[in-house]
């Protein structure tokens, strides 16, 4: 598997911030999906739905600002794409038994 991310070695601080923001974004996305489920589920009041929606929107704007301010928009995208590639690769292997068998054989003969 190729390296996960292609971070700029010269800019350590940017790299760390990029990773942190990537993580925050992933959590935000997961939270957003859960928020929609709750909104549709019917257990929230109108006021709560509005508050939740506004808060998520504010979070989006704040993250965009942070990425813009520090010039890490591309880095964050790269990290997320890298992680997505890994997930895709692993799932691919798991869903396709032939390939799974191939991998297993490779491991055994090593």
């Amino acid at each position: 598997m190729a390296g996960i991310v292609d971070l700029d070695e010269n800019n350590f601080k940017q790299g760390i911030l990029g990773l942190v923001i990537s993580l925050v974004e992933i959590i935000r996305d997961a939270l957003r999906l859960q928020a929609f489920k709750r909104m549709e589920g019917g257990s929230l009041t109108e006021d709560e739905i509005e508050r939740l929606g506004e808060a998520l929107l504010d979070l989006d704007i704040a993250l965009d600002q942070i990425k813009q301010e520090h010039g890490i928009t591309d880095t964050v995208q790269q990290v997320r794409d890298g992680l997505d590639d890994i997930v895709d690769e692993v799932l691919d292997k798991m869903l396709d038994p032939d390939r799974w068998a191939e991998e297993y054989d490779k491991q055994v003969t090593r």
């Binding site: 996305d29 999906l33 257990s43 929230l44 813009q68 010039g71």
Partner: protein, 381 residues
């Protein structure tokens, strides 16, 4: 290798990490694990883990945490402080958008984000968490408002708002939709019969700078330049935008945001000027940078109007500037700082003072008189 049958299901779309998390949270995850961490076969740490993880909807579906959910939301409904800014009687909100105010008092300098509320009486910038009024001004006090396109150091261009309002210093603001905010303010002020200047008071900017000039001193050149400001308090060295001014007596750099000069040298104090290509880090990479060196070994001087930055006595100090006409500035300054001479070894022109005190930056020649000082390493061309 066998060719795959076309009837086998193929995966068309790629799975993402968020998709995976969503599926896991939708179904729920139960972890039932007993773990021992041992060294050399001796168990040292034991963990009994029983955990159930799921999206709240799923939890509620299984009847888990229902009470807690209710109580949490109940508490929030009862105790949450007002998230809206305190309004005056008869005050109504006309427009709300995300924005930020540049706050610079003393050594604390930062963008403070919140939401702009344009009401029928005032412009407010309010932050809800923690609640606080970040900026406030009423229409009667607003004199001028201009939008300027500025380039952030990352290369992104943004429209920034300059607001002149009595009796305070000009406010430097960022808004999500600056034009919309400006038009709304303009509209409201017109409705109130209040005048609003729109051309940006660059004259006012010069007014502030004018106050810095001495008797018989005149500005001969100025340009937008980024300056690598030295560390101040808890803030480390940073590249900051501003304006470099050349007068008939000195060179100083004016900080837009702090509204004061952070760099100031009389010509007599400058020992050398050159252009170097430097890596500015991040995505900007290499740029030509104007390097101004000064040596205060013999004349320790306070920057005239900024006593907090005393030029330290002793040693070579260098100031870095980045901008569009770096080469032209180097030539102009070089001519002023000293007469130009040619290097005995490579015959390239350089200011006399610099040649004698620092050596030639092109070939590394140093004057025999530099015996005591170490010759500076020549920057790679």
């Amino acid at each position: 290798m066998e060719a795959k049958s076309v009837l086998l299901p193929q995966r068309e779309t790629k799975a993402t990490l968020v998709d995976l998390l969503d599926r896991v949270l939708e179904k729920g995850l139960v972890i039932h694990a007993d773990i021992i961490i041992s060294v050399a076969g001796i168990p040292l740490i034991g963990i009994n883990l029983r955990a159930a993880l799921a999206g709240m909807e799923t939890m509620l579906k299984y009847g888990v945490m229902r009470d807690w959910d209710e109580r949490t939301r109940e508490w929030e409904r009862k105790h949450a402080k007002r998230r809206e800014p305190p309004l005056l009687a008869d005050e109504k909100v006309l427009l709300r958008m995300y924005g930020a105010h540049w706050y610079s008092k003393g050594i604390y300098r930062a963008w403070r984000p919140g939401h702009f509320y344009l009401t029928n009486k005032r412009l407010l910038l309010f932050r809800s968490e923690p609640a606080g009024m970040l900026f406030e001004t009423s229409f009667e006090n607003i004199e001028a408002l201009a939008i300027k396109r500025e380039t952030h150091f990352t290369g992104v261009e943004r429209d920034m708002i300059y607001l002149m309002h009595n009796p305070d210093l000009p406010a430097y603001l960022y808004a999500e939709k600056p034009l919309e905010l400006k038009e709304a303010i303009k509209g409201r002020m017109e409705a109130l019969g209040l005048p609003l200047e729109e051309s940006f008071p660059i004259p006012v900017l010069d007014e502030e700078v004018d106050r810095l000039l001495g008797e018989g001193e005149k500005i001969t050149a100025d340009a937008k330049m980024w300056y690598k400001a030295p560390a101040a308090g808890i803030i480390g060295e940073t590249w900051r935008p501003g304006r470099l001014y050349l007068t008939n007596k000195r060179l100083f750099w004016w900080c837009n945001e702090d509204r004061k000069a952070l760099f100031d040298l009389l010509f007599a104090q400058i020992t050398g000027v050159r252009v170097e290509t430097r890596d500015l880090g991040g995505i900007i990479r290499e740029r030509p940078v104007l390097v101004v060196s000064s040596d205060n070994a013999h004349d320790p001087v306070e920057a005239p109007f900024d006593p907090s930055t005393t030029l330290r006595a002793g040693g070579l100090r260098t100031a870095l500037f980045a901008g569009e006409e770096v080469a032209e500035w180097a030539r102009a300054l070089g001519n002023i700082v000293g007469e130009m001479e040619t290097c005995p070894r490579c015959s390239r022109p350089a200011p006399v003072k610099q040649l004698l005190e620092e050596g030639c930056y092109d070939c590394g020649w140093t004057s025999p008189r530099l015996g005591r000082r170490e010759a500076k390493p020549v920057p790679a061309k």
